[in-house]
Symmetry: C2
DNA sequence: CGCGACGTTGATTTGCCTCAACGATTGTGG
DNA sequence: CCACAATCGTTGAGGCAAATCAACGTCGCG
């Protein structure tokens, strides 16, 4: 099951890019040349704190999480990435600094990755990718801002409802502990929240 | 005092861009053609919720804040922008959607602005700006992520200390109410925090 | 089977908020 | 240029949302 047709994977990525900007055949060739396929088993790390993030990952199939572990060892999930999403510690990637974040597969996951040198080369060969990645980062920026907004201006209950609305496909796919950590609450409290909400509607 | 030499303002912006990518003379001319100077009085709105954000603003001198007002009318500051920072509701700007955010001058502020049509035109005329704005957004993304991280993984006290470290120039420039709102706590609580910290060190 | 990950529920604690009152400072219109 | 209002910071008493700690049942998996 670890074997997935490489070409069909690349095709997913090409389709993704193609929606942002029409690609020429030579662009497609560049993509298949620069992006490498890599598989991660459930619980496997893509990045561990202290390492430099050297890959920009596109999730073809599966699910990743990015989190920070604080002094007490508690885990705070910043972001999930499922099919057709990107995952990276951009600060570490750009500045070649040690990351304080972890990226881990929480399902068996197929990715396509490009490292920072190759990405720079790609920009040089085909400047069009400056446009594509600009758009892509802008989209990530908007969703990150939305997340921050929810976090600072809502109660736990509102955040949970917002999450359920925004990511209906994740609500049953992910274990509750992970969702709690994403929402910034304890699993116990999420449990209470859910039982309160289900009583209210029934 | 509202009069500031336009050329010296544009020069600030050109210097800023020039650090990201060397500019040709024709690039500089484009910049001075596309960016318009605009002055805002203290308390004046750049953007009000319900409007579409149509300008990408560069702060030459002064200070802006971006915030969301929740149902209760409480204000949550997302971001400040002082000299050489950018301010925009990117989601609203890109998708021409109504914004749920407000942007307001908290000091008399001189800005240089470009609207979305002109920015698109600028990208067409000089694709180099795709590169420049990619870098610029990436930087904003990193600092936004840092902010989210602080918010979800720290106590109020740690957030305050982090803020004081990251933005030493703002700590005395801004009234405490604003800082409290940025940190996501009440002004009263910030006051107590500060007095506790100063007792501890003395 | 037995162990670890997961979810639930109860009792207690705590970080931060709310409301209220009070001076100090700023700013603004007459 | 003064008077009065608005903004700002501080302090106190009480309250609540969410955390903590602990115990227990279930499920999937090596």
């Amino acid at each position: 099951m670890q074997e997935k047709n490489i070409n069909s994977q690349i095709q997913v990525l090409i389709d993704y890019f193609n929606k942002l900007a029409p690609l020429l055949n030579e662009d497609k060739i560049l993509i298949s040349k620069f992006f490498k396929s890599r598989f991660y088993r459930k619980r496997q790390y893509i990045l561990q704190q202290g390492d430099i993030c050297n890959s920009f990952s596109f999730v073809v199939k599966g699910c990743l999480r990015m989190y920070k572990a604080d002094q007490k060892g508690d885990i705070h999930i910043i972001q999930f990435a499922t099919e057709n999403w990107w995952m990276i510690d951009l600060g570490s990637f750009q500045n070649k600094e040690k990351s304080e974040l972890n990226i881990e597969a929480i399902e068996d996951t197929w990715t396509l990755q490009i490292d920072s040198d190759d990405l720079i080369r790609l920009y040089e060969i085909a400047p069009k990718f400056n446009f594509i990645f600009r758009i892509l980062i802008e989209k990530s920026f908007v969703s990150l801002q939305k997340r921050l907004l929810q976090n600072i201006s809502s109660t736990a209950e509102e955040r949970y409802k917002g999450f359920a609305e925004s990511y209906p496909h994740l609500i049953n796919r992910l274990p509750q502990v992970q969702i709690a950590s994403f929402l910034g609450i304890t699993p116990e409290f999420l449990s209470r929240l859910k039982s309160k909400l289900s009583k209210r509607t029934s």
